[in-house]
Symmetry: C2
Subunit: 343 residues, 2 copies
């Protein structure tokens, strides 16, 4: 059965299109009798207003675009889930795009969409974009006054709303916690050294070490993207260096570190404490379960969506930009040994 239009209803019922439109929108101008007649006919023929025509007219689509580096990453999945939740509640649909860390995909997506197809953007910069340091496509969005909210991986030169965590502070907290429970030689392992957030975490780690009189030792920092190479390096470090704990600043690093430790026959946490970052399924289900600093993915997504929609609906002035910092939390589980609790 073909979809029916307002025009066809008007013809069938011998009234004008505007009468039909008003009746269907329950306008006070139309008599109850006419309304009833029209409603009945509409219902019978399963009338559904064409959303494109509405959008064109109202100049708003109720669609928002969401750019995600990778949906296979649990942290981003949680963020997207949070975004979708709020969007649905507030009557918006989300168009999702996975950049797979490609600058080109990111640019293409934005260019394709920045033409009235959506009411706003929620995005996380791809790794390549960050490395290339090319952000003109986002600048264009801002210039066009299309609402834009960046999350997690942001850029200081982009004057728009942001929802992030404090990576430096969180890493600082995590490192300090390890010292608190008695660790003396805290190593660091990272598979995300190419990301600004990764660098921030290293910064926080170093800061904490210095603050409490420890020295930063290059030999106790393994920062590699390749899993095999990283495991090899961690193994070497564990064998050659004096290390009683490891701060793995991303989930992959944590899992790999745990595997190396197991393969070396280390008892976790007695022989070695491990602190993870971000609370994914892997961290939760490892043996032992990982102690981590958790970033609330869902919350990040929700806040980003709230902010964006507030902007879209004019509840917040388009020029009023803010950076929202979502709190992180330490979850103590099985990979850290609490010798005592200092300070």
């Amino acid at each position: 059965m073909k979809r029916i239009t307002i025009k066809e209803i008007s013809k069938a019922l011998n009234v004008s299109v505007s009468t039909v439109s008003k009746a269907l929108n329950d306008s006070y101008e139309i008599s109850e009798a006419t309304k009833e007649r029209i409603r009945e006919y509409a219902k019978k023929h399963k009338y559904r207003p064409n959303s494109l025509a509405l959008s064109l007219q109202k100049k708003q689509t109720k669609n928002i675009a969401v750019l995600v580096p990778s949906i296979l990453d649990y942290f981003f999945a949680k963020i997207l889930d949070g975004i979708e939740k709020v969007a649905t509640e507030r009557g918006y649909n989300i168009l999702t795009f996975f950049s797979h860390e490609s600058y080109e995909k990111e640019v293409n997506t934005i260019e394709m969409l920045n033409n009235g197809a959506i009411d706003g953007f929620i995005a996380c910069l791809s790794e390549e974009t960050l490395n290339l340091d090319k952000i003109d496509h986002f600048k264009q969005v801002i210039e066009d006054e299309v609402p834009l909210v960046l999350y997690d991986r942001v850029h200081k030169d982009l004057a728009c709303d942001k929802v992030v965590i404090d990576n430096v502070k969180t890493a600082y907290k995590a490192t300090r916690y390890l010292m608190k429970i008695g660790c003396e030689d805290i190593a660091l392992v990272s598979t995300i050294d190419g990301l600004n957030v990764g660098k921030f975490r290293v910064k926080g780690y170093k800061k904490a070490l210095k603050k409490y009189g420890h020295t930063v030792d290059k030999n106790k920092m393994v920062r590699l993207t390749d899993a095999k190479l990283l495991k090899k390096s961690v193994k070497k470090m564990l064998l050659e260096q004096n290390v009683d704990s490891i701060f793995a600043i991303d989930e992959t690093a944590a899992v790999l570190t745990l595997q190396v430790a197991h393969s070396l026959g280390k008892k976790i946490p007695q022989d070695l404490s491990i602190m993870g970052f971000s609370n994914g399924v892997l961290s939760e289900n490892s043996t032992p379960a990982l102690t981590v600093v958790n970033q609330h993915g869902a919350k990040i997504g929700e806040e980003a969506a709230i902010r964006l929609i507030d902007k879209i609906e004019g509840k917040v002035d388009i020029h009023d930009i803010s950076t929202q910092i979502i709190r992180t939390e330490l979850i103590e589980r099985g990979t850290t040994y609490r010798m005592y609790l200092k300070f």
Copy 2:
């Protein structure tokens, strides 16, 4: 800077809107000189055609809706990733909705969208929908002749395209493999007994047992949704029953089973073999890594998208419906002990 329209260009250049339209579409009717003038002006003022107006006119949105039970499930994330890949390649955007296994959310989503907002649906039935056995909302979509492709969790009464795996056969294969490598007492653990796919897998398991002369023993089947209860039951089973292997028909079941086995001090795979289903991050990163029957999530998504878009673009007749069965594969890893290889 506000976005510019074709009308404004026409005014500025003192030509008609149709001339501008044709010029921008590189029509042969327009002189090169005029085209150049118009193109230049358009470029200078960053003209972008309004996609809504185009959609309204062409009666196609280049948007497809994707319904996913939960994006936090790695298997579904892979499927969505596959869908997005194909959609992007073929110039379509995807609107994503997460039902969180809610019938109501599913119905609302479909009703909201079935009005020209999208060109087609790709969906996986929610658990609640399956249990309620209410599928009128999908029937309506089919009746409206809006292209629809169902994946993974489908329904026999829905006459539309489907992309699935053969759950019975795959479970049969997995069970038979365990027997092949020498297992005599194969138990089954499931956390998805509420799903039709779960029931199919149990069926395949039983079928294999019978086929090779084993008896189906209720005491060796644990089917519970709650993690705590399930672990307790599995533990009990492992202590009281004679079991040399376990077929965990979903990833959660596999992980929990592994945890119980560890807690009981079982050596895996020497004391107990475990076969998982679906190859998620957990299966890959467990210790030991799980032997699993893998379902190719990305492939499922890609095929679903290809089929849908072919339907949308009329490359396939709307009434020509098919069920595509994606092959599964056994990945042998660390949780199965190969005593020998029978048959």
